[in-house]
Symmetry: C2
Subunit: 141 residues, 2 copies
DNA sequence: GTACATGCAAATTGTTTGCAAGTAT
DNA sequence: ATACTTGCAAACAATTTGCATGTAC
């Protein structure tokens, strides 16, 4: 991903282009991942010491409102991710990693709800257990 | 539900029977519902003024650990419910109500994950949108 | 020039902790 | 008798707010 594409995304969604937003985007849009505000803030602060936590909060909120990111809550904190498709996030109680699980059927089930008696605008599916790696490792013994 | 059944539940799960726990159970096990610690605390405090928020937190944690309740996070707070089956909670952005949605297939999908490459110990499915009532009302116009 | 974004400090909200005193078993 | 539970106050973590200054468009 290039800065040009980030700038395009901001323009497309009606957000102004600022160095702070580009800094955040370089971290959270570079590759699939899960991010906490505090962590991203600390990473950016190294090269841009004037940035504040409140600004990073603002940026995450703006990007989520515009559909660039998706958020979910886990253990008292908000996480952000660039995978905006309906999917499950599995939090591994062994290694701490968060793993995306694509479950195409779930997207369809939720779609079906929206065609029925409900209106569904967002879905957060958070699982706790063991990721694929830890499941394999611990059942191997 | 009777106090006797609550006492039984506590004994069965290895929790001691205390007046504070019974007070909480009378509220959260009486009928299907969704509860925040703070709200339950305030309701109990009327008749038992010595109870503290920390105690109510303790009780919810103990009951959830024992599988009597289930929890999920929504808009920065933890909610508890007595429906311990896998289901979705839909938070209505119009009326504020939280509605249970039973989706039998989802339980099976998650079961399937657990039989596959993952180990799933808990699942939290939180939807935002419009509840059945508000969906009907707003599409009627 | 105007509306939007940032930086900063302080406030707020939800939750946890440590510990002494009390109580269930 | 012992381990668990409660009450209380204080601490903590995550997030939000208000406002002056700064910047994108």
């Amino acid at each position: 991903m290039t800065d040009q594409s980030y700038i395009q995304t901001l323009r497309d969604t009606g957000l102004k282009v600022t160095p702070q937003r580009l800094s955040v985007m370089r971290i959270v849009l570079e590759k699939p991942g899960h991010f906490k505000v505090e962590d991203v803030y600390r990473r950016i602060k190294v090269s841009e010491p004037t940035i504040t936590l409140a600004t990073v909060y603002n940026i995450f909120k703006a990007m989520t409102d515009k559909g660039i990111l998706k958020s979910f809550e886990l253990d008292g904190a908000t996480w952000f991710e660039n995978n905006t498709e309906v999917h499950a996030n599995l939090s591994c109680e062994n290694c701490g990693k968060i793993e995306d699980i694509e479950i195409p059927e779930i997207g369809q089930l939720i779609q079906k709800l929206s065609n029925g008696n409900y209106t569904v605008r967002s879905a957060s599916i958070v699982l706790k257990g063991l990721c694929s790696e830890c499941t394999a490792e611990l059942s191997a013994k």
